[in-house]
């Protein structure tokens, strides 16, 4: 992790777009899975695997690695895609997502895929595991950092608040939690389903340091992680303001794309078999907005 110059930012933007295209290709091949969350978190995962985390794709068990724990396991296509582009396994393997015999289970399984630290999917259970890892590292006076990715919807789970309390009690300054604040969950908008705000005040009351960031701006992402590393005696929450479905304008902000793959369409949208191809075209041209060199 270091200062991002223009060249590095361009590199990360291109990688993030490649990750988004892989996500759409995987979901098309799988015929099921979640679309909005993985697209919204593509920039964060790209930043993590290509700039922020200390890791070695050829040696996933490297003792000096940082630990990445994905709590909202259903957005795993974005983690798988970022891992493949980073060199953990061949990019072609992404097309095995959710198929029998795959290492890329519908929700990630620790024992299947090297580089996955914990199995996850049932919401709320990732944070406590990350807290356990962080406490264990501190017991052994090890410098590794722990990053935990969570959804905003899973803040509904009671267990999350048990884990938040424990992390505050243990002053886990080796733990950074990224909350994907995309404002959607399966049944609708988070503030309609179960209001979460005021989020900052809640986490601060639980003895966490809170940083808001624009999760689609690499400079902002990088600064937030740098600030987090500078906080002592407290764990840090990055409230990552994301656009669900980011990169494909027609599905951005639409909660109905939370749990549906391209081509299947949400319940009240007529399925469009050509949708996947159209989404990929949009990503190739970034919605027709830009940029020759991305094509």
């Amino acid at each position: 992790m270091s200062y991002l110059n223009d060249e590095k930012i361009k590199f990360l933007e291109e990688k993030a777009n490649a990750v988004r295209m892989s996500i759409i290709e995987m979901l098309l091949a799988a015929g099921s899975g979640h679309t909005a969350g993985p697209l919204g978190m593509a920039d964060i995962f790209t930043a993590l695997y290509f700039h922020i985390l200390k890791h070695d794709p050829k040696n996933p068990e490297w003792p000096e690695r940082d630990f990445l724990v994905l709590s909202n396991g259903h957005i795993c296509p974005v983690q798988y895609a970022a891992m493949a582009h980073a060199g953990y396994f061949p990019i072609e393997e992404l097309l095995t997502l959710r198929k029998f015999g795959t290492r890329l289970q519908g929700h990630p399984h620790r024992e299947k895929l090297p580089g996955i630290e914990v199995s996850s999917g049932p919401l709320g259970s990732g944070l406590g595991q990350a807290v356990g890892i962080a406490i264990g590292l501190k017991m052994d006076k090890k410098p590794n950092q722990v990053v935990c990715i969570m959804g905003d919807g899973e803040q509904d789970c009671g267990i999350v608040w048990e884990s938040l309390m424990l992390a505050g009690k243990h002053h886990l300054d080796n733990l950074t939690v990224v909350i994907d604040r995309n404002n959607i969950q399966i049944d609708g908008m988070t503030e309609d389903i179960m209001p979460l705000e005021p989020m900052r005040a809640k986490y601060e009351a639980f003895n966490w340091h809170v940083i808001d960031l624009n999760a689609h701006n690499f400079q902002d992402i990088n600064s937030a992680f740098e600030e987090a590393r500078g906080i002592y005696e407290k764990p840090v929450i990055l409230l990552a303001h994301t656009i669900p479905g980011k990169g494909i304008p027609e599905i951005e902000f639409d909660y109905r794309w939370h749990g549906n793959p391209p081509g299947k369409g949400p319940g009240d949208i007529i399925p469009q078999p050509e949708q996947g191809k159209k989404f990929l075209d949009e990503l190739r041209t970034l919605g027709g907005k830009i940029k020759g060199e991305h094509q």
Binding site: H109, G128, A134, G136, L166
Partner: protein, 336 residues
């Protein structure tokens, strides 16, 4: 008396006036400290019941390896999974009703699916918890722990075996559930009693040269009632074999099937719902290998209630006389 001499059981175990009485959970506390003395990776996590679950000696001796979790049993399980991911061997304690009761899904996903090296310790199992009543009497815990892949399940019969199991589970990698009890109960075994995880042991043999009329297969402190019943039945001329089946999963199928072959009739005894527990597991093994008539001693599809421990054992049909009745009934079924 035909207790198995190789088992080196307590000599006075039939004498209720002199037999030593201790709660099985006391053995847990000793076994944990013994394991922790040898292995610095062992850590202890407790959900605000450190003294009742007997984790207090460990917490005092190794304060930097003890984590007070507060009343958060779900977090208890998942935090332990995280600690296991960085090489620790966590023991997690609460009442069995709350762990593995309240946190079952976290145990399934983060301990068992993850294949974490975490030992789940549930104290206060059974109706013998007594006055606290049904909310705190775990009698479904083995039924929910047993079917989960990777999970192992143990039910020690006394404090001495409880100590040995607490120590032994630290020696293998993987999740384990051990059920302990609150009340003082007779100490059946001794330090010299041979012990191996996964083995059932014959504690009481039929008289030499006779075939057993019945095999009583028991786990937990009720094993003592099974032995008292065997002693009474022997005085009536019946030949009985009593097996300590505290390793509920993995179960020692060979010893169980051999007992069914030799006796042709089985009674299972456990302080647990008869649905889904140790007896059900015995029935699964025998149905597949050597079906014989079985009677099940345990709680019959009821919730517990407040009362004195011994009183509740009688009310819920798990006393010595109930075992004797079940033996006679199963022998009659065999001979019908």
């Amino acid at each position: 008396m035909p207790t198995n001499p190789q088992m080196k059981l307590a000599e006075n175990l039939l004498d209720l006036n002199t037999v030593k009485q201790e709660p099985t959970r006391m053995g847990f506390g000793l076994g944990l400290v013994q394991a922790a003395d040898e292995n610095p990776n062992i850590v202890g996590l407790c959900a605000d019941l450190t003294a009742s679950t007997k984790m207090d000696d460990f917490a005092k001796k190794y304060p930097s390896r003890f984590i007070q979790m507060g009343i958060g049993e779900q977090n208890l399980a998942v935090t332990a999974a995280g600690l296991s991911a960085v090489g620790k061997i966590p023991y997690i304690t609460s009442y069995a009703m709350f762990s593995p009761g309240r946190n079952w899904e976290q145990i399934r996903t983060t301990l068992c699916y993850n294949n974490s090296n975490v030992k789940v310790v549930g104290s206060h199992s059974g109706v013998s918890v007594g006055p606290d009543g049904a909310t705190h009497q775990a009698i479904e815990d083995m039924a929910i722990a047993r079917p989960i892949p990777n999970m192992t399940v143990f039910a020690p019969c006394d404090s001495v075996e409880g100590k040995k199991i607490a120590y032994a589970v630290s020696k293998f990698y993987g999740p384990a559930y051990i059920r302990y009890t609150r009340e003082k109960t007779p100490v059946i075994t001794t330090e010299e009693t041979p012990f191996e995880l996964g083995k059932a042991q014959v504690f009481w043999f039929e008289p030499e040269g006779k075939k057993p009329d019945v095999a009583i297969i028991a786990c937990g402190p009720l094993l003592h009632n099974a032995i008292l019943a065997a002693s009474a039945l022997e005085r009536e001329g019946l030949a009985v074999r009593v097996i300590n089946n505290g390793s509920v999963k993995p179960m020692d199928e060979a010893t169980i099937v051999q007992a069914a072959r030799d006796a042709g009739a089985v009674v299972t005894v456990e302080e647990h719902q008869t649905a889904g527990g140790m007896g059900s597991s015995v029935a699964e093994v025998l149905a597949k290998n050597f079906p014989v008539p079985i009677e099940f001693i345990g709680v019959q599809n009821r919730f517990g209630e407040s009362g004195e421990p011994n009183e509740l054992i009688e009310v819920f049909g798990m006393g010595v006389t109930h075992i004797i009745e079940a033996v006679k009934k199963v022998i009659a079924r065999k001979n019908a």
